[in-house]
């Protein structure tokens, strides 16, 4: 950085009448657009315009003000900005970070507040009497587990080493005042979230058997049950979250980061931006790998419905390798960001997913009809099919078919619902007994509330009121709506509009139609390279001249 630079008066001998007529602010864009440039000697105002242009460029594309050296180079060059400076800024890693900010806005990329494990699988530490200190002792503070292990709800273990009998069974101490309370001690475990340390864990909770016998002597998988006394958190506590160590937040943060990294890679490598909707390559890090391999199935259907079977081979990466990201190829049931957990968990219902797709990738919003909805007591509200119900149909004629594309992805979860495991109709779910079956209640339609709904009893929920066209959408999955948006140009138009509006800091109007058409052509001719589009926007007169732009084609 040359801080000793003397800022000399610029020699301003030239400007010709012809140049004046063009408008001073055209000097920079013409130069940038490869047209004959007049920029070697500039007027004072042109110099200031160039400096502010550089400032805008740096703030918009790098997220910070320009370096002093860059500003001084503009002064030294009498206001001329070398096009390579613009290109370097557009192609910098910082510009990928700015594109990430755009994606964060589009996808509301934060699911760190979501619970991915219920109390039966969450470790916390025991409470000690006031004034008593000691190493933390972990236990699962759920009524189911504590009653099972110690006979009393919310009972924790004793703060002493665990004792075992000759066959290795945990010994307990009966409480002096409560005959139902039997407490064990703790054992030392190297937890999966930090294998370099040993922590104290109540012995029942620390059990590491993979299978155990239930009360009817049936062998059960401990990873999937919280109601068998011989089952705990598994080896290295792998099936449980730790609240004090924020393991669940680490996982949800990683799932959000996975989505943004997916977008980053497309931008950084200049891949066609359409892969945002169709790409199948995705990266997995330690927390995600651990969650998918050991924890996603633990909670069953009653909570977040996730499984380790995510239509790709999950690489085995230790949980503590947060910064190790490994690429995997998903199968063709996946569709870019639309089937990533970050998207599916943020927008938990199929309708919510379709709505966000329209907002973020088609630049369209669903709004109530002009004049509003009919009164709540209007009998027309009794119609159960939203594509026919008064008022609702205004949007749902489009929402329902769009939502159907996610019909084979779990709502309130991200498990794919393959047809073999989850057929479109299950006769047992149509029975009275089926109505109390967990899988039926969670995924199938079991509780008609209207005569017209009776015919859908026992059908997968996404099939309710689905006509043939919607059923086809369910079959093809999110890839179908993605490809349609790409093929009909709606996606390209939306990306162009969003990019231009973000950089120009204003909503575009009909007056901008020509600019939009030109920019969209630029995007398409550059194989949907987002940064080529960004470069096209920031070298346009509208951006270069900014507040001095005149629609007639010059500076005002």
């Amino acid at each position: 950085m040359n801080t000793n630079m003397e800022h000399e008066e610029i020699d301003m001998k030239i400007p010709t009448d012809g140049r004046r007529a063009l408008g001073a602010a055209w000097i920079i864009p013409l130069a940038l657009l490869g047209m004959p440039a007049y920029a070697q000697v500039c007027e004072q105002d042109d110099l200031q315009e160039s400096l502010q242009y550089l400032r805008r460029l740096s703030l918009d594309l790098r997220g910070r003000v320009p370096d002093l050296a860059e500003l001084e180079s503009v002064v030294t060059n009498a206001g001329a900005i070398d096009p390579s400076i613009v290109r370097n800024i557009v192609r910098s890693d910082d510009s990928v970070a700015q594109a990430r900010a755009l994606h964060r806005d589009l996808l509301w990329a934060n699911i760190s507040d979501q619970r991915i494990a219920d109390n039966n699988w969450s470790l916390t530490t025991i409470r000690r009497p006031a004034g008593q200190t000691g190493d933390p002792v972990y236990f699962i503070n759920s009524g189911t587990r504590t009653r099972l292990f110690r006979g009393v709800v919310n009972a924790q273990c004793l703060d002493e080493p665990a004792r075992f009998d000759a066959s290795g069974r945990i010994l307990t101490t009966q409480d002096a005042t409560n005959a139902n309370l039997r407490q064990e001690g703790w054992v030392l475990v190297r937890p999966y979230w930090n294998p370099t340390v040993q922590v104290k864990v109540c012995a029942f909770d620390a059990q590491d058997e993979l299978q155990a016998l239930d009360t009817r002597n049936r062998s059960v998988e401990c990873q999937a049950t919280a109601s068998v006394v011989g089952c705990g958190c598994g080896p290295e506590l792998r099936w449980c979250q730790s609240a004090p160590d924020r393991t669940a937040v680490t996982i949800t943060t990683a799932l959000g980061e996975q989505m943004l990294r997916f977008m980053d890679k497309i931008v950084r490598e200049g891949q066609p931006y359409t892969r945002v909707l169709t790409g199948r390559e995705v990266e997995v890090n330690g927390p995600i790998s651990h969650y998918l391999r050991y924890q996603s199935s633990s909670n069953g259907l009653g909570f977040v419905f996730a499984t380790g079977d995510v239509n790709y081979t999950v690489p085995a990466i230790p949980f503590d390798q947060v910064n190790t990201w490994t690429s995997v190829q998903r199968d063709n049931s996946h569709a870019g960001v639309l089937t990533l957990p970050g998207y599916l968990l943020k927008f938990q219902s199929d309708r919510g997913r379709a709505n966000r797709f329209y907002n973020a990738f088609l630049c369209q919003n669903f709004q109530a009809p002009p004049g509003g909805l009919p009164a709540a007591d209007d009998p027309c509200n009794d119609e159960p099919d939203l594509t026919k119900r008064c008022g609702c149909k205004h949007c749902h004629l489009a929402v329902e078919p769009a939502a159907a594309y996610w019909g084979r992805w779990s709502e309130a979860g991200f498990a794919p619902l393959d047809a073999a495991t989850y057929p479109s109709f299950r006769a047992d779910c149509a029975t009275a007994a089926g109505a109390s079956n967990a899988t039926c209640r969670r995924l199938y339609f079991t509780d008609p509330g209207h005569p017209d709904e009776e015919q859908y009893r026992g059908w997968l929920r996404s099939y309710v009121f689905a006509d043939a066209a919607r059923q086809a959408n369910i079959d093809v999955g999110p890839r179908g709506i993605a490809q349609a948006a790409i093929d009909n140009g709606a996606f390209a138009s939306c990306v162009t509009k969003q990019t231009a509006e973000r950089l120009l800091a204003r909503e575009l109007t009909e007056d901008d139609a020509d600019m939009l058409a030109e920019l969209r052509a630029e995007l398409e001719s550059n194989n949907y390279d987002l940064r080529a589009l960004i470069e096209a926007v920031v070298t346009r007169p509208e951006y270069v001249a900014a507040g001095h732009f005149d629609v007639r084609g010059g500076a005002r």
């Binding site: 000793n4 950089l503 509208e542």
Partner: protein
């Protein structure tokens, strides 16, 4: 509100042009687009152009034509078949919290705004992220970039701490060229030119004081009051850091 308007007015009309620090000249009001189409009209719309003839009821006051007071269009003088539709190419806006988070250390040799003024303290741009308007995509899904009073209150705090620390660090530096706020402290006008370029991206040629007079007065006043050049440069730094020229683009 006044400050907000000044931010936007400056950035839309003035940021590129050197001017007095006290604020930009308010640009003439921009008339709204009269029509969404740019197709020239064969005759100027009577509702778009104030009649030059005075209203019968209000002598001397221009009014619009209406059918109760028919006028001969040929008496209206020459019309512009291509009405000027002025609009911003790019609108002005306030810096984001992320831009401030990245820019402040870049400008001040790594210094940033911290809790309790401790070098290792919490970065306040993070602690006050939501208060300053940054979206967290949980409770707020869109960044609030309004230059509201809360934002400027905290920006005053930020500038006060960062500038004071930066000037103190400069004083400890023996090589003038390594200083980030006052490399030309012995020549205040030259140093103000340096800061104007570095912080605002506005070039003030050598020998000119355009846009510097208020800053120079501030420097002189604080110096006279405190007899401390460091305090004077801190005050100048705060003024420039909280100015619309810095906070908007």
């Amino acid at each position: 509100m006044i400050r907000k308007l000044s931010v936007l007015a400056l950035a839309t009309s003035m940021a590129c042009v050197p001017g007095e620090f006290s604020g930009p000249e308010v640009p003439p009001p921009v008339s709204p687009s009269p029509s969404p189409t740019m197709t020239p009209s064969p005759s100027p719309s009577p509702t778009m152009t104030p009649s030059p003839s005075p209203s019968p009821s209000s002598p001397g006051e221009p009014t619009f034509d209406d059918h109760w007071n028919p006028q001969d269009p040929t008496e209206q003088g020459p019309g512009d078949l291509f009405p000027v539709i002025e609009r911003d190419g790019k609108a002005a806006r306030r810096l984001t919290v992320a831009q401030l988070r990245a820019s402040i250390p870049a400008l001040f040799g790594g210094l940033t705004w911290t809790n309790n003024n401790r070098p290792t303290g919490t970065v306040m741009f993070n602690s006050l992220s939501r208060t300053l308007g940054e979206a967290d995509y949980l409770g707020q899904t869109e960044e609030n970039r309004e230059p509201n009073p809360i934002f400027f209150k905290f920006m005053d705090d930020m500038a006060g701490q960062v500038c004071t620390n930066a000037v103190a660090a400069d004083t400890a530096r023996t090589v003038a060229s390594e200083r980030v706020v006052k490399p030309f402290a012995e020549d205040p006008d030259r140093n103000l030119r340096f800061l104007r370029l570095k912080l605002h991206g506005i070039h003030v040629p050598a020998g000119s004081t355009e846009g510097l007079t208020e800053l120079r007065k501030l420097y002189d006043d604080v110096l006279a009051d405190t007899r401390s050049a460091d305090q004077a440069w801190s005050a100048v730094c705060v003024a420039m850091l909280t100015a619309p020229e810095f906070m908007a683009y």
